[in-house]
Symmetry: C2
Subunit: 312 residues, 2 copies
């Protein structure tokens, strides 16, 4: 029997085993840390943040599936068996969740919802025009993959001028493309709202730093929905407190859960959410993975295989 090892928190294991049992009864599912299994019986594996060294102990594993769009949690495993294909989770539902998050927080800033929240708390009727017209509020998206493109296209339909920055030039209607290190400064200089949706790789680690913030226009807003490792948190707070940046929305942090001592919790110009921008839904992902396994067993080509050199 074909056996799948699920490396998921045991308290949510049922969320994976139940839909898999129903949708793919031909697949034996074992839960890491809960079920006994022999390393050699594992044919496929799925996980989000697997313990380092685990995958190299599986001699017969054929494909490893990431449950997130980002695979930095796998690549940080020095012993990851790079001869085994690693598949990123690319799914319309996940991309759509991320797009909703980006649209929500772009509009909360653009439409000054936090000012209205404060006015309500103070019982003040404070009518005001949005300080900047939509047509003059330039959104810059770091990372023009599946998710960044989808978010950019949607924001363009709301009339925001949208640009994107990526490793290679992209051609997407309504999104101005900037590419490579040489065009980063020009891209930043025209981004009133900067949205980070990059994969976390050695090349993008700490890309949101003091120098980056200084290159943004005064009054810019930062949204990080990618990985905590992209951001130098102290640099962000300094750039906000100096008045150069208007504020930020953060979904991801260098350390998660965010430590109670972090000044981010109470910063009046930072909205933080606990890594919820796009959560992989087991009901959806279990089918995606089962279909990919069935296809692979029949010899079909795998989609979304990670390039270990690029890191995504």
């Amino acid at each position: 029997m074909t056996t799948l090892l699920a490396v998921v928190p045991t308290f949510i294991a049922r969320l994976w085993t139940e839909p898999l049992a129903q949708y793919a009864p031909w697949l034996k599912v074992v839960i890491h840390g809960q079920d006994d299994y022999k390393p050699e019986e594992i044919d496929y594996a799925l996980g989000f943040r697997p313990p380092p060294g685990l995958f190299k102990t599986l001699p017969n594993v054929k494909v490893i599936f990431s449950l997130g769009a980002g695979v930095d949690g796998f690549l940080s495993d020095k012993d990851f068996p790079k001869q085994i294909p690693l598949v990123r989770f690319v799914d319309h539902t996940l991309s759509r969740e991320m797009m909703q998050y980006v649209v929500l927080h772009t509009l909360m800033f653009h439409r000054t919802q936090r000012q209205f929240d404060r006015a309500q708390a103070q019982k003040q009727w404070a009518q005001m025009f949005p300080p900047r017209r939509t047509e003059d509020t330039r959104v810059g998206i770091l990372g023009l993959g599946e998710i960044g493109t989808m978010a950019g296209e949607y924001l363009a339909r709301l009339d925001f001028p949208v640009s994107g920055w990526s490793r290679t030039k992209k051609s997407v209607p309504d999104i101005k493309s900037f590419a490579g290190d040489g065009e980063l400064e020009a891209f930043l200089g025209q981004s009133d709202i900067l949205v980070c949706l990059l994969p976390l790789t050695p090349a993008t680690y700490h890309i949101l730093n003091k120098k980056t913030f200084a290159q943004l226009p005064k009054g810019a807003y930062v949204i990080n929905a990618a990985r905590g490792g992209h951001l130098v948190e102290d640099d962000l707070i300094a750039a906000i407190d100096s008045g150069h940046l208007a504020g930020a929305t953060l979904d991801v942090f260098e350390t998660e859960p965010l430590p109670a001592t972090s000044p981010i919790w109470t910063h009046p110009k930072i909205t933080m959410t606990p890594h919820v921008a796009a959560m992989t839904d087991p009901r959806v992902a279990s089918r995606t993975v089962a279909d990919a396994i069935a296809g692979h067993m029949k010899g079909a080509k795998l989609d979304n295989v990670v390039d270990f050199e690029l890191g995504y």
Copy 2:
């Protein structure tokens, strides 16, 4: 010389006179309550909430322009000269602002942003899935005019199932159409998020009432971005406090500014904003009105003329 009477608050008169002087120098603009003028010299008039009885004193006025999409502030004038065409302000910018507001508050509820706000204030890392999948969160829009259609189309692109209710049946891709009193209950019964964008007329006055709320599914959310007269505020609060409704976002109120004594200010499940969902931008509207006047002087047909029977 062609003379336009602007019935606007005098402290913002400059926002109107300056762009009009630049864009339409052939037009003489007088501000009601600030400039002296003879009633018989007025050819055209614009305003938002004109004092009752004013327009009947203008013997030569040819067209009256509303600065808002809703014209209830004109129709409540018992002496309004109904032989004079009244033109509603229909403008992409205004519709787009309203659409942004509806998208913002739909997503704030759907993505449980208020729970995340509270968790941040308490320094709690509270990860959770959205309680309902987007595909299962049905948005019902009361009023499928220009603005309601645009908002519905955008929400459908975020994967919400969208329906609309209007006086007559509409055919809009991706929006299920319900029409007339006979289909109101069926429409409400399948609206998890109810958005009111209706014109305020005798037929829609207090349409958001106890009976309406009882017909919504348990846990429904209400967004009123139309007019305060649509809503029985006490009925809304009772429906929320009973646990039947999850909450509401209100931009408009029976009395504006909202009185300090209103329980709406401090209700933990109500987000209130001070009638800012879509504010007519003088820089845009002055051109729209000047163009319409120039067209009318050349004999062109007026667009968006109000039907006094229907009230919009």
